[in-house]
Amino acid sequence: MINFSYTIWIPLLPFLMFLLLGLAGHKLKPKLSGLLGTGGLGLITILSYVTAFKYFFTSEKVDGAYQKIIASNFTWLQFTDKLHIDIGVLLDPISVMMLVVITTVSFMVHIYSLGYMKGEKGFERFFAFLSLFSFSMLGLVLATNIFQMYIFWELVGVSSFLLIGFYYQKPSAVRASKKAFIVTRFADLGFLIGILILSFNTKTFDFITLTDPMGTAIAQGGGIAFLGLSVMTWSMIFVFMGGVGKSAMFPFHIWLPDAMEGPTPVSALIHAATMVVAGVYLVARMFPIYALSAPVALNVVAYVGAFSSLFAAVIACTQTDIKRVLAYSTISQIGYMMLALGVSGYGGHEGLGYMASMFHLFTHAMFKALLFLGAGAIIHAVHSNYMTEMGGLRKYLPITHITFLIACLTIAGIPPLSGFFSKDEILAAAFHSNKLLFAVEYAVAGLTAFYMFRLYFSVFWGKDTHYSHEPHEAPATMTIPLIILAVGSVVTGFIPFNKLVTSDGKIFESELELMIAIPSVLIGLLGIGIAYIMYRKESAVPDKLAATFKYSYKWAYNKFYMDELYLFITKKIIFRYIAEPVAWFDRHVVDATMNAIATVTQGVSYRIRGFQSGQLQKYAFVFITGAIMLSILFIYLWK
């Protein structure tokens, strides 16, 4: 057995860095803070790589399967004998993979931010928050039990909140951060309820016990029914709700586009590569239960994923803010991953979808981070987010241009770039399981290629906009991460995921299914072609199209009015029709009742003052009648 106990330092180091930068950051020079943060992350990146290497290539397999290794664990909070929150490190293929993803992207973003955020007020705060995020995300993926995951789940939520609202003086940023937090919080409520139901029925939080295919949790979980579904299904649906929120699936997707108010590196790190895939990771983590004990819940996952991917892709085609396009693209891609999980089975080749999902998660992290960082470089150069204000930038930003193109090709699924491989596996998995979903994903693949190249062409080609000052290429701190990630996007497709990350830890064989791959590439190319026609040069086609499909376009452009719907629910229903009436009720009914007691007392006091009339004879009258009344009472009435 290899000693992995050092892995506890992987999340701890960023935490220490957070404390250092958070408490003493404002006393340090900004540059030093940045370097400290970046350095710390570099260190854990190395550690992660070492761990991944050791885990995949040197650790022993049992039965040909990668083992789940608890590298360290201690009881953080004891609820009952069996239920306790542990904080620890669980190493298994997906967590190790996620380690690599997170540290890589995070490291790149750190480096990138050194340039991007230079001179910003709150530079050290930014790095502190980044460290906090890294800590939380790492804690999340390394969680040994579902409650630990929930803890870090919440923490990434708050880091995301802090980072979206980094420009706290900007009202839109404040709104966006609030929205992100509350929407995900609402989803997390489901997660928590899911945990409660799950733990009540299984009496454990522990992942290994929970997900043991032979374990009691899975075996007995299907039994007790409630409203037609087994308790386990209920709990898994609730748990998935958390994933829906964090991964911005429909209908909780609305926070993600707004979250682009945060600094672009943040979008790259959190809202593209790492945090938003936490939902996928969650489902993957609980996968045996979904697959073996709650197939209904797994279907929900598949449909939610498919719908989200289509829905977001359509919206992405109409947006003009490049970060929003990317955001919807992210939703769409995560939808792919969810779908892949949803259509997957457990074990062996059945688990193709699972593997594909993880694979896509991995590649997506690379190319989406690349896209965002590229977008950051563009924005850095142009000082605008809108495609309409850009054009012909390829001359000014050569490196960005090339890397961006690579990323676009990758996401469009053009071989031999990584996106091709991962997406292809997903399509294959869907094909074998559910033809309808497969068809949807085919369409989405085309849409993806279209909107990405719409973006690409309108930014780098198209009309040559006159800029108020000449755009110039970003500094090396920003371009180097771009290049590294571009390389990553190219090469990661060749990683044999079926040998590393599988649903049951065992290796299985999978090969490229040309019957699926070729049409998908063609569809991708078709999308690119249409985009080329429409956006390569200035053309009236898009406007015409928009005019033709006026209503659909308008609906899509307005994101199908989901924001308005949410606004209606929150502002109108909750605030106007619940909270304010409650407050009113409290003041005017409950409190008024209490006050009424006092008022009535005083009123009675006023009314009966006549007894004390100052008239001697009235006093005597009361005296005599009192005596007589009492006598009558006790002689005749109440003997």
């Binding site: 006092a598 007392t601 006091s605 009966i608 004390q612 005296f623 009492l630």
Partner: protein
């Protein structure tokens, strides 16, 4: 009369002697130093108070007409303490020019009422009881009308004497029925001969009405507020604590000793009247502006609480009543002391006048607060303990509903006590009562009251001593 008789009756005899000495001394006193007669009287009385605490033989005298026992001695001592405080508080008032003519009379009358109370408490026969209660009332009426130049004082006097005459008439009618149905007026004999017939209950209720008048139990209380307001403050405080205390003591003794047979009836009576008393007293107190009137109603509601101690007819109840009276003496006299001091200094008696008092007279305000909190039953002052024991006594016999009503009433009472506190500490006032320094006697009285309020609660010895002397039905 043997020496033993003298010893047993020493409370009364000494008081009578003191009254006469004061009366005679006045004749020989230097007219220029008239006011020093009060010092003389107080010292005299102080000595008597102390003598009262000396151990003494007990037993019946005059064929059972006069009964002395540890309990009754204790009651007398409690009253003595209260009276002493009242005397000391009176000094400033007596120094006033319009009162200088009648200092010795003041002491004579007060002491004679105290004699009456002592006889009343020691009664073993309704005749002594009756004469005692009249002796305790008639001079008080004169004292209530003592401020001859004030309309209110005269009004207070007439209201007191006439209503008390009526009440003693009613009470006597009741007593006559008791006599008619038992053939005796000796407590011990009535106790064994009494029954539960209608006429006896009628007699009892009428008797109770007469007693209730003295304690100011609703609906026999209506004289209280007017008389308290009109009387000189010292008399008011005397009425509210000493008179009331004595009446409660003897009512308790009579209920326990004479009417144990109809315990069910008198428990019901007390239940009804105590609920009425607490509630009505509180409801009226809420809206009072004049502090004396305010304290009058407060003392009515206090009487309601005290009845809770009686209702159980148990030893604990008796102890708690005596204890509470002791506490009540300190608390109420503390409150009245402040009213007296301010009334003497400025003539102001309204709550509004007290606005901002804390800024100018912090000590007086604190004493007032302490006293009011004690009346309201707020820990850690003695009133809390007193009330707690009263409620415990009632609860012991299962009168939980009554206790609940009582504690809810304490909330109302807390409200109006806090109004005074609010006036003193919170309300703003452009022209608060100017700061003044009370003379020695007032401060001395305050010292006793404050010490009493603070110590009586914590020192469990006092309660235990009382408890050991008390008895139940």
């Amino acid at each position: 009369m043997s020496l033993g008789t003298f010893l047993i009756m020493r409370h009364e005899l000494l008081l009578i002697a003191a009254a006469l000495i004061v009366l005679i001394a006045e004749i020989f006193w230097n007219p220029d130093k008239k006011s020093s007669i009060s010092l003389f009287s107080i010292i005299l009385f102080g000595v008597i108070t102390i003598i009262g605490f000396l151990p003494s033989p007990a037993g019946p005298l005059f064929g059972g007409m006069y009964v002395s026992s540890g309990t009754r001695l204790l009651m007398k001592n409690i009253l003595n303490i209260g009276a002493l405080i009242v005397f000391i508080q009176s000094v400033t008032w007596l120094k006033k020019e319009e009162n200088s003519e009648k200092i010795s009379e003041y002491f004579l009358l007060l002491i004679s009422t105290l004699v009456g109370m002592n006889f009343m408490i020691s009664a073993g026969h309704f005749l002594i009881f009756y004469i005692g209660i009249e002796l305790a009332t008639i001079p008080i009426a004169a004292l209530a009308a003592y401020d001859r130049y004030k309309n209110k004082s005269a009004e207070a006097g007439i209201k007191l004497i006439l209503t008390s005459a009526l009440s003693s008439g009613v009470m006597l009618y009741g007593l006559s029925m008791i006599y008619g149905t038992t053939g005796t007026m000796y407590f011990s004999e009535v106790a064994s001969l009494f029954g539960n017939t209608s006429l006896q209950i009628l007699g009892f209720i009428f008797f109770f009405a007469g007693m209730a008048f003295k304690i100011s139990i609703v609906p026999f209380h209506l004289w209280t507020a007017d008389v308290y307001e009109g009387s000189p403050v010292n008399i008011t405080s005397y009425l509210s604590v000493i008179s009331k205390g004595a009446a409660i003591f003897i009512l308790m003794i009579i209920l326990f000793k004479v009417f144990p047979i109809i315990m069910g009836t008198w428990q019901k009576t007390i239940f009804v009247t105590s609920v009425l008393t607490m509630t009505i007293g509180n409801l009226f107190a809420i809206r009072q502006q004049n502090l004396k009137r305010f304290l009058a109603f407060s003392s009515i509601s206090q009487a309601g609480y005290i009845l809770l101690g009686l209702i159980g007819g148990n030893q604990l109840g008796m102890a708690s009543v005596m204890y509470y009276i002791l506490v009540y003496i300190f608390s109420n006299l503390g409150a009245f002391g402040v009213v007296t001091a301010i009334s003497n200094a400025t003539g102001k008696e309204n709550i509004d006048d007290y606005n901002g008092l804390y800024q100018t007279n912090p000590k007086l305000s604190l004493i007032m607060t302490l006293a009011l909190f004690s009346l309201a039953g707020i820990p850690p002052v003695a009133g809390f303990f007193g009330k707690f024991f009263l409620f415990t006594a009632a609860a012991q016999q299962g009168f939980y509903l009554l206790v609940l009503i009582a504690v809810l009433n304490t909330i109302i009472s807390l409200f109006y006590y806090l109004l005074v506190v609010k006036a003193m500490f919170i309300s703003k006032n452009e022209n608060p009562i100017g700061s003044f320094r009370s003379d020695f006697s007032t401060r001395f009285a305050f010292g006793i009251c404050v010490a009493g309020i603070v110590v009586t609660g914590f020192a469990s010895v006092i309660f235990e001593a009382i408890k050991n002397l008390s008895f139940g039905v």
